[in-house]
Symmetry: C2
Subunit: 320 residues, 2 copies
């Protein structure tokens, strides 16, 4: 039996995750789901967004299906998602971007860089330390190289012309790519953001540090019409969390208009991770058939609701 923790989170997370979960349940009746509550809603109600017990529950799962969480820009509030990624050491944030003429995977280092949590405040300035470790760079480079090996080539997004910490990242990626025999090029992150938009066909696997990957993947979402279609996997040694890249979108929450595709595709990545590519393919193809049938949520110019889109995919999965 497989245990999947389900975190709906806040906002549209509460709408898209149930859709993805039903689809998972349909293709894999052996999955045992259990709910874990974390996030802003919980924080407002109980004063705690996530605690040690929550982390322990997440740790006990074979995989985590995650929605989205609202982070208020309140200095006292630490992003729960960032907390979970660190606690479970989910070091690889994998974001495939697929669409017309685009087939790119962004592999983002997910535990250090500017997300180190290290910093201090002086009376007249605030400092955050960007940490690039050899071990952290090695494992993300290795992950990206393994992926690139089964695909085409690797691009290393960096800012080594300004950040000495990126010289280490570039050095490690160079070594790992050579070892793996993967063709590898380097691109400054600013130029990469633009060139990826202008010539997506030139890119295959892109590896980069934490916040650069954060920004790059949002920019790349433009290529596929926005965040509605971007799934992601957060992978560690013993744990894995799957989530749409989009946020909790409080402005459209509760209206049955959110696009559940990214959440459904995240569920497909979860199946892939469980070693079940056949079921993942059934889900992916079901989504494709529904889209081809012209059923779409409003962000893609359609009139289907979140639930109706989900029901259509569920029907196709039954046929798959």
């Amino acid at each position: 039996m497989v245990k999947v923790a389900v975190v709906e989170g806040d906002g549209i997370g509460r709408e898209v995750v149930p859709v993805a979960r039903d689809i998972l349940a349909a293709v894999r009746p052996d999955i045992e789901f259990f709910d874990v509550e974390v996030g802003y809603d919980r924080w407002e109600r109980t004063g705690s967004a996530c605690d040690e017990e929550t982390i322990a529950a997440l740790r006990s799962a074979d995989a985590i299906l995650f929605g989205a969480i609202t982070t208020p820009p309140d200095p006292g509030y630490r992003s729960v998602l960032v907390q979970i990624r660190r606690a479970l050491d989910l070091y690889a944030n994998v974001r495939p971007i697929r669409g017309e003429g685009v087939d790119v995977v962004i592999v983002r280092e997910n535990t250090e860089g500017l997300y180190s949590g290290i910093g201090w405040t002086e009376p007249d300035r605030a400092c955050t330390v960007r940490v690039v470790s050899r071990r952290g760079s090695e494992r993300i480079a290795r992950y990206a190289c393994t992926l690139a090996k089964s695909r085409r080539h690797l691009t290393v997004g960096n800012k080594a012309n300004v950040l000495k910490s990126d010289c280490l990242f570039v050095e490690v990626c160079t070594a790992e790519a050579a070892r793996a025999g993967v063709p590898c090029t380097f691109c400054y992150i600013d130029a990469l953001c633009l060139d990826l938009l202008m010539h997506p066909d030139r890119y295959d696997v892109i590896v980069t540090t934490n916040i650069f990957g954060d920004i790059l993947s949002d920019a790349a979402a433009y290529l596929v019409g926005g965040l509605g279609l971007l799934p992601s996997a957060n992978i560690g040694e013993g744990h894995a969390l799957f989530e749409p890249v989009h946020g909790s979108a409080p402005d459209i929450a509760g209206k049955n208009v959110a696009n559940p595709i990214a959440a459904i595709q995240s569920a497909a990545m979860l199946l892939e991770h469980l070693g079940d590519p056949a079921s993942a393919a059934v889900v992916e193809e079901a989504v494709d058939r529904v889209l081809r049938a012209g059923i779409r949520t409003p962000d893609l110019g359609g009139a289907a609701g979140t639930r109706e889109f989900g029901a259509a995919v569920l029907r196709e999965v039954g046929r798959g």
Copy 2:
């Protein structure tokens, strides 16, 4: 008499700057130009890319017209442009992005953040300190608010949900916008990159910290067909440097194919800065007329060379 230092730099800098300089000379015969050599070519020849004497020469100018510099990703080589920005304390990097349905100005803090130059290397990790100071934030916020006051509104690009150092930046921007009476909203930098691409009409003046501005402006360049059309101003208390946002592009250098528009528009920003908006307008309109006449460099689908395009603008300036 007005003294303008001219730094061609490397690669296509040597092609686009002479074009911009000739146009400046045509509209303002009172400008006295003097050349300053800095950059990679100089470094290869003399072992020094820029020294105290160079900085002193740049300091003596009323304004600097700057091309582009090649920075090799060599740990021993420090970016000359970053060095000059700091030495002359050019704290505001102003990047207007104008095109079909787009009229945005990115105001990038230009002296601190991840460009602090502060960092250290341990045996197994490398660290860079992101510095956000109250004074640095105040002056850039004030600059952006003054600009926004004469336009429409302000957006503050930040990542305060993760970086405690951005809480200070957000706090200062909030206070300055309130003081100036400028409508102000906040947006996480990742979301901003995407939303600016999807809905450019929603943005007017955007203020953000150093590396976020670096990345955001390249992403925004997509809206106007690439870097060929992006000029910029680097403004300090007593000094100012004007440069195209594009780099030295060694791959196309020396072929008379580089687009000089960004350099010419940077010259127009220089005129504006000298308190001569009339001449700036003459230059801007000359470029527009040449484009409307169908004369374009290859990046815009035309067949004109860098020099031919420049000559056409020069003729129009004569008529302006």
